[in-house]
Symmetry: C5
Subunit: 100 residues, 5 copies
């Protein structure tokens, strides 16, 4: 999985029928130090992630291993909202600090 920050939304009304009701979020990948990478992805959201939250994104066929995404033409899924990222013994990110 990759670490990403939710940075926006994409709306598509005219789409594959099986995608009706799927919410598309624009996520910016972050490197292991929390800096934005040039890569982004439009991911389906299955956990109710909000703007600026750090999330875990699964890509490829993994994105369809959930009841809300299976058998749909999706290749990226937000699978979790991140609480903490620790590198070595240092806390790199904490959602609690962010939310203050």
């Amino acid at each position: 999985m990759q670490i990403a920050r939710v940075c926006g939304t994409v709306v598509s009304n005219h789409k594959e029928q099986s995608l009706t009701g799927v919410k598309f979020l624009l996520v910016q990948f972050l490197n292991e130090e929390g800096q934005p990478l040039s890569e982004y992805e439009v991911a389906a959201d299955s956990v109710g992630a909000g703007l600026d939250e750090w999330v875990l994104v699964s890509r490829g066929s993994a994105a369809r291993q959930s009841s809300s995404s299976e058998a749909r033409p999706l290749d990226a899924l937000i699978v979790g909202i991140i609480d903490t990222v620790s590198v070595g013994n240092q806390r790199l990110y904490s959602k609690r600090d962010q939310d203050r």
Copy 2:
């Protein structure tokens, strides 16, 4: 999924039999600010996208999760025509503005 702009067409008459009738569009990937990336893809179209429209492209096995694409040797599918892309609270792209 990636955001892309439809920029052309590819025609192949001599091809895998299962691809008969599949329309191939050339799509240019865009970054999250709408600038063209160096990457492109030839994607099957399942939604009737037109030249210059912004679309969502699914790649990998996701491209075969549709009745018009399953069991065909396809690795990229246009799954939706984009209406709006918003980054933070700003509208980055709106199809309505584009169509004027």
Copy 3:
């Protein structure tokens, strides 16, 4: 799919048994303007492509969605010989011109 030009052949006699009889072509990926990219691929050929022809290449599990490739350890397949590539209203490539 990616646009590629057939540029060579690879021969392997000692290989997975299921690959017996599979023809391996070396294909050079082209960008959307027809310039060679640094990427190449060794792809199985299911359409009888010849040297210098432009072809469509499917990668990943898509490469096994054909009777000649299924259940074989293949991750790239030539799925069509390209007749024309058009960008906007301009013809970028035409096989007919090439064949003259």
Copy 4:
């Protein structure tokens, strides 16, 4: 598979239900000379890897070919703890030396 060094942990409490109990490790990919690459991955751990250990990471659908990972939206899995890496006749890495 890629060679990686375990460099941290990621905690997510609000996630896909099927991921309950899955441990997420942050792994830094290494090149074939043991130097850190810019790429990283958040991988599920199925072998009990510890901080600073070198591990083998499988990505894509391979990450779900284990009883602890199947049918979960995972695209990266630590599949082994590396004992030795040898390039030509030279030992590049030995866990035993590392553990001293």
Copy 5:
């Protein structure tokens, strides 16, 4: 598939049970001119490849399309030992010359 040169071995004793007995080779990808690329892969070997031999490597789910690899968490497999690589009408590589 990619062209690669076998350049080493990786040993992992503590690993996914299904990987018991699988031999892991370190392979260096080569470009279409035979020059080493920065990419490498740890691939399972199903054909008995030896050091310095040029091989064909399949990645992704293709790596599990063999009796020795199916249902194992593998994402790269050596599927053949290369005899010759020809670009245009020129022989780029011949195993016979190499073996002299």
